[in-house]
């Protein structure tokens, strides 16, 4: 059995007395792809915010590897190896595509203030190295010929891909994708699928995925956790989830949505 790299135990958070997420448990192993689904307002993004340090949990424990990460700030989560994308895209809009990726590589640059002021040879060498690395990542998501485009000018689907490339640039072990297919057309979704498979194979990372597109989730996830009203109502393989009566009730039955 492979190692557990991310573990949430009884994680919970309340906002002004209202419990947004309650008793959330999750184990993510190396190389696994786990889906997190649930109806609107079920608390999926809140879970992401807890796991990436945007919110501090009010209950429970959270481990990355063996390190307890409760209440650590967002940048510490990244250092520990967890990176994310956002449901409502958050790029550095007025910067170029490659700059977006390079910002995420910032920790990998060795040079310090003095070099930044004087631009010695080592400065240019590192900049070139990191640019090369950034270009590789852009190639993974198919944006290599857009490197000098301003991010805000990219079409929607490519902005989502850039967000993935930017997250990859942090050299993370766990990638959390918050509705990466939202707003994409079928062709773009198919491309996204390819990208997700590619990065799994190539980087050997674990992925936690929030998604509304059930067909996508069913197709690629090995395990699925279902949230409703902040509580886990089911957890298991896609097969099990598809036939779970609570899930059908909460997710499909009540909303009259067909998926």
């Amino acid at each position: 059995m492979s190692d557990v790299i991310l573990r949430a135990e009884h994680l919970g958070i309340s906002f002004g007395g209202l419990k947004a997420v309650n008793d959330f448990n999750l184990e993510l192993r190396e190389g696994e792809l786990v889906g997190l689904i649930g109806p609107n307002g079920a608390g999926k993004t809140t879970v992401f915010n807890l796991l990436t340090g945007v919110y501090k949990p009010t209950e429970g424990d959270y481990y990355i590897g063996e390190t307890k990460m409760n209440g650590k700030p967002a940048h510490a989560m990244v250092e520990a190896g967890v990176a994310r994308t956002f449901q409502n895209i958050r790029l550095f809009s007025n910067m170029t595509v490659i700059e977006n990726v390079l910002v995420a590589r910032d920790r990998k640059f060795g040079y310090k203030l003095f070099s930044a002021f004087t631009h010695p040879k080592s400065f240019w060498k590192q900049e070139a190295q990191e640019k090369e690395r950034a270009m590789e990542l852009l190639k993974v998501v198919g944006l290599e010929d857009k490197a000098d485009t301003v991010a805000a000018n990219l079409p929607y689907g490519q902005q989502r891909k850039l967000e993935i490339a930017r997250a990859l640039a942090t050299d993370m072990k766990v990638l959390m994708l918050d509705e990466p297919a939202a707003g994409m057309n079928p062709t773009e979704t198919a491309e996204l699928l390819e990208i997700i498979n590619l990065i799994r194979d190539r980087f050997g990372i674990s992925i936690l995925l929030i998604e509304h597109d059930m067909s996508l989730v069913m197709k690629i996830c090995e395990r699925i956790t279902v949230l409703d009203y902040g509580n886990i109502i089911a957890s298991g393989s896609p097969e099990e989830i598809a036939h779970n009566k609570y899930v059908i009730e909460a997710y499909l039955g009540k909303d009259d949505e067909e998926e």
Binding site: T52, G53, R90, F92, M95, L113, A116
Partner: protein, 360 residues
């Protein structure tokens, strides 16, 4: 990109400009009055460029920059006074030069320390609130300096609060100040074109996304803020040693606004813009002396028009590049490259020939 070739080109250009200014001064075409205005222009350039880091790159409107300038000015002035009292480096020429440099750098460092002290608590405030906090700190610094005994009268032992600090040695020599300005600009420009500048822009664009890719935003913000303060302090030190007198009300809210105006005119993240706006807006009012009363009136109208029609400032984030211009008209880079290759080839050929000769 700020490549090796273009740094050489720029160095030659500023040296040429320097030599022209030397000739104009030594032949008396530019008298002391003109040189004084140019000195003030240098100070404005450093102030505006330093403000660019905080306002243009980090995206935080700072309206208390005169406070840091004041710290630098008074610190540097009191240090040269202390040196004079203790008779250290109190000669002429080179000794004055070192005294001046030590004093203004010390002023910059103290301003930077205050930048950290002010920035650490306030930089988590957002937008307008941060602007107001910087305004508040600017005012606090001014009021405190006004009420310190050592900052008034003759300073040090003979000080009395509320008076102008007089008798500062006028150590600011234009030639020195010119190169300090060039160096400051080069440093700031390089900084902005490094990973630091990139991260600051990212924080400006989206702070939450920046933390989500592992950026310690607070640390970078404080760094940018204190660096901005350092150069403001440096400019303040030059200012003190140019004027020779520091009036207590000099570094008020309006002084801060003056540099914000220059920064905005030039384009908030353009150092070329800082140079042009700093120079023009310092020289122009002097040239139009008779209209001096209407200076601020004209500024305010012009500023509103800029905000309406070109909110990013005249230059926006555009940087003028001499090398690019040369390329445009003379295909400069390629020519230099070609010549280099030709030389290398000749050398190689020569060596090969020599080698052959040796063999024979």
């Amino acid at each position: 990109m700020f490549s090796k070739l273009s740094s050489k080109v720029n160095f030659i250009a500023v040296t040429l400009l320097f030599l022209i200014l030397v000739v104009l001064r030594e032949t008396g075409i530019f008298n002391n009055y003109v040189m004084g205005i140019l000195m003030l222009a240098c100070i404005s350039i450093i102030m505006t460029a330093s403000l660019n880091v905080a306002t243009g790159y980090l995206g935080q409107l700072v309206i208390g920059h005169a406070g840091f300038m004041a710290i630098g000015a008074y610190t540097a002035a009191l240090i040269t006074k202390a040196f004079a009292n203790a008779d250290i480096l109190n000669g002429s020429g080179i000794e004055n030069f070192f005294r001046f440099i030590i004093a203004i750098i010390a002023g910059g460092i103290l301003a930077a320390i205050f930048g950290v002290l002010v920035g650490a608590p306030t930089l988590r405030l957002k937008g307008d609130y941060l602007a107001i906090a910087t305004l508040g700190f600017g005012e606090i610094i001014r009021v405190i300096i006004q009420n310190l005994k050592i900052c008034g009268g003759k300073g040090l032992a003979q000080g009395s609060a509320g008076q102008a600090l007089i008798g500062i040695n006028r150590l600011a020599d234009f030639y020195v100040v010119y190169w300090i300005t060039v160096l400051s600009l080069a440093f700031l420009f390089c900084f902005a074109r490094s990973r630091y500048g990139r991260v600051l822009k990212a924080i400006r664009e989206d702070e939450i996304a920046a933390t989500a890719v592992g950026i310690k935003t607070t640390r970078y913000k404080i760094l940018a803020f204190s660096m901005s303060a350092f150069f403001a302090g440096l400019a303040g030190g030059i200012f003190a040693h140019y004027l020779g007198t520091l009036a207590p009300g000099t570094f008020d809210f309006n002084k801060s606004i003056e540099y914000v105006i220059m920064g905005v005119f030039g384009g908030m993240s353009s150092f070329s813009g800082s140079v042009i706006a700093g120079t023009v807006l310092t020289v122009l009012p002097e040239a139009l002396r008779s209209f001096a009363d209407y200076r601020m009136l004209a500024y305010s109208v012009a500023l509103i028009l800029v905000m309406i029609y070109r909110p990013q400032g005249l230059f926006g984030s555009y940087e003028f590049s001499l090398t690019e211009q040369l390329d445009k008209y003379f295909d400069f880079t390629n020519k230099v490259q070609a010549r280099k290759e030709k030389k290398a080839a000749e050398k190689k050929a020569g060596k090969a020939a020599a080698g052959e000769g040796g063999e024979k």
